[in-house]
Symmetry: D3
Subunit: 62 residues, 6 copies
């Protein structure tokens, strides 16, 4: 703990994910006083056809 679940669109590179989890962990340690070892981050990559805003799938948004 903390356990951080992140939902985002698919398409990020491995390098972006690497930078993201490193930075998220650092600011969690700094602002909450947790140890780095206690921080888990799980990334969920979502297809645009499975996410809707305002009643419209993102695969249908222009």
């Amino acid at each position: 703990m903390p356990t951080i679940n992140v939902q985002l669109f698919e398409g990020r590179t491995q390098e972006q994910k690497r930078a993201f989890v490193k930075a998220i962990t650092e600011v969690t340690v700094q602002t909450l006083g947790a140890t780095a070892e206690s921080v888990d981050i799980i990334i969920h990559e979502c297809k645009r056809e499975n996410w809707a805003t305002a009643g419209k799938l993102w695969s249908d948004q222009e």
Copy 2:
């Protein structure tokens, strides 16, 4: 907000998802008084081999 996460079996068509998110958003606006723009829906498609009821995977149910 509201953010709505939906877990269901895989196999729905794009047309079904499209109708589903449109209708869910409409009734959310009507019953909760939210704006359509504030409604996010994320669909999670699950395999039958990853969902169990009563101790039995759905891929094993007859």
Copy 3:
């Protein structure tokens, strides 16, 4: 299944929740072809001090 998890701000009345789950279930049955009995809805009421958009807690938004 489907299992629907809804995150929203606290403050809805019991009557609003009642109308919401009834309507959500109906449109799920209509658009996805599920049986009403298979639809579970779990409501998560969040405090404004625990939800942030654009880096700012909603309890701090004006």
Copy 4:
């Protein structure tokens, strides 16, 4: 209810999942007094490149 969501690394066999959901359901019935029919288990298989501990993706851990 109860509804149990399990996040783990991908790579378990169908046989392991079968044994897992059977055993989880049994102990849930025994310790919480729920009926087996009311226990739903959803397994989420995560890639090592999407899970980080201590700021490092598991695909990068040695």
Copy 5:
């Protein structure tokens, strides 16, 4: 990992929770080959007025 999130109705005793997490962890270790230290379980206690099945809140079910 594994990380196990459990949603159930509120009302279980501390003793029931204690037995539950012990048993869940044991069968997870036995069936999946994980170490006990890697198993996290998070319990979410839900009010009956926030869970609906078949379009009806459990606080309204007789």
Copy 6:
């Protein structure tokens, strides 16, 4: 999107939460290229009696 759900023990101050969501949003924008407006963060405060590691509730850990 991205939508970030954070599970942690209860007990953080409003000031800590404020700093946390500001920093998380900033590094998400920097590393993933998202706009700040698209970043939602939802904090879930868990009681120690509802979180277990290695089969033991944290309220029972010494």
